[in-house]
Amino acid sequence: MWSDPSAGRSASLAAPPSSSAQAASGPTPGTSDPGPSSSSSSGPPKKPLVKLQRFGACFAKEAVDLNELRELLWSGVPDEADPSVRAKAWQLMLGYLPVHVERQVTGLSKKRREYRELVKDYFERSPEMRSDNENQILRQIRVDIPRTNPGFKFFGDAVMHGIMERTLFIWALRNPASGYVQGINDLITPFLVVFLASYLNKRDEDLHELEISEVPSEVLEHIEADAYWCLSKMLADIQDHYTFGQPGIQRMVLRLKEIVKRIDEALYDHLTNNGLEFLQFSFRWMNCFLMREFPMRCVIRLWDTYIAEQASGFSNFHVYVCAVFLVYWAPQLKMMDFQQMMLFMQKFPTEQWRPQQIETLLAEAYVLKSLFHSSPKHLS
């Protein structure tokens, strides 16, 4: 069945990029049981409302069943959900919020206290005591923070800059093998947006014009600690993406190349014949998990699934998402020369993308991953 892998797949992928309606009416991935460890079988397509109830029921148990939550989160938090649902799901899934409901309040306050200690130990030390290396890290963080711009006004606010500076600096010092690497500043932003939305009970789309001065300082303290711990969990297993030589990323780029060669050899040939190297365009996809390629609402949807995949290594799955994403543009790319492709891939026309289009990518990626894993010989 895999003899001409590109044939069957490209039919659904070749939808013109602007036709969100078409993509949205495509396969609805989440509803049909794609979760990696899901046990229940897929029923008829579930309405968002049913899904909301399932989230509610999942949280209401004495101890949240992480397998059940994983399956739910994998297919995305519905738009209709209360903003706190996503924040809670992410925090549970990342092992930050305790699964036992009666331990959640104390668990969180303990973690937040711990974080305050970290701030004292690592950040509030007198500047003279900082090593050259620490100063260099801080310098890099400070020049990157004002250049962190995922489209929300509040990321330009000095108070938010302080939050990012502390979390990133502490993370870097506690992860000396990698230290701070440019791009990690991008990776903390979805947590900040989702947790802010949860506390303020607003949709993340309604936060674009938010003024930080409107947010109570207690809330800011909480989201700072929560974002710090969740970022740490998220990056815990992918340290080698950011260590010297970035071997984790090199590996993913290589794998992407193999997969694309398998599923769309014509595109692969077109890229290589034009002198395009995978590293040239996909390094950033790996380093920032496609964050620079999509608007925040899409990144957040992508992260629902990645956080659900976190335990089994979401970076593995991410490569398949990248492959599907690249092949999606094959019709356009095949018409272009080297320079046109480079410029096109630097700024994909994705500004208008909706989360539904991400779901299509995820569904395709899931199918692709299953096919490759069930017959690994295709990769050799």
Partner: protein, 225 residues
């Protein structure tokens, strides 16, 4: 018309946040983008400039400044005919690192690479920490070109690229610059030449390979950008 006489590949190197990406944006879009993000890995830009009556197409790789990215950015040196080493005139550290960047370029790039030191943010006069004179002496000692720019006002930006391109053109006239005469994937017979051999960073454009007098029309059909 997109036809050109030569294609030069350039790299932009230098410490993080000195303004490399802003210089590239200023060259290509003639504007200063506030709030643009830092570079992850490399970014790419292209522009055709006029130099001594020739149309020169520049393909420019803008690299990320952070040390950790060197393993990725280093691979862009070998294909380059020109290098801009950028520092920030308000930050002495970035100036001191110029020497390291130069050493990188000398070891990793071709021997005939043309290099310019670029002191950026010249609009920030009050914060100046590196004088024009010392930088220009340093450049002279190291036998590289030197100019100051402001990506914010646009001052000096195009001149920097023109200056390096001129130097390369002079080398071509003196027969000191290696030129890839193949038409390659930018020329008429697309795909005939293995891109891996196109490492010189300088290619003759289709216009020069056709008769100079002939209209640029056939070339523009093949060299679309």
């Amino acid at each position: 018309m997109d036809a050109y006489d030569y294609l030069f590949k350039f790299i932009l190197i230098g410490d993080s946040a000195v303004g490399k990406s802003c210089i590239l944006t200023s060259l290509i879009e003639n504007k200063f983008k506030k709030g643009s993000s830092h570079t992850i890995g490399v970014e790419f830009g292209s522009k055709i400039i006029n130099v001594s009556g020739k149309r020169v197409k520049l393909q420019i790789w803008d690299t990320a400044g952070q040390e950790r990215y060197r393993s990725v950015t280093r691979s862009y040196y070998r294909g380059a005919a020109g290098a801009l080493i950028v520092y920030d005139i308000t930050n002495r550290d970035t100036y001191h690192h110029l020497i390291n960047w130069l050493a990188d370029a000398r070891t990793l790039a071709r021997a005939d690479i043309s290099i310019i030191a670029v002191g950026n943010k010249s609009d920030l006069k009050d914060k100046r920490a590196v004088t024009f004179l010392e930088a220009s002496r340093c450049a002279q000692e190291n036998e590289i070109l030197f100019l100051e720019t402001s990506a914010l006002t646009g001052e000096g930006v195009e001149e920097v690229f023109v200056k390096v391109a001129k130097m390369i053109l002079n080398k071509i006239e003196d027969g000191m610059q290696h030129i890839e005469e193949g038409l390659g994937y930018h020329g008429l017979f697309s795909g005939l030449i293995d891109p891996a051999t196109m490492m010189s960073g300088v290619h003759a454009g289709a216009r020069s390979l056709l008769n100079e007098a002939s209209p640029a029309e056939p070339a523009s059909r093949c060299i679309s950008c």
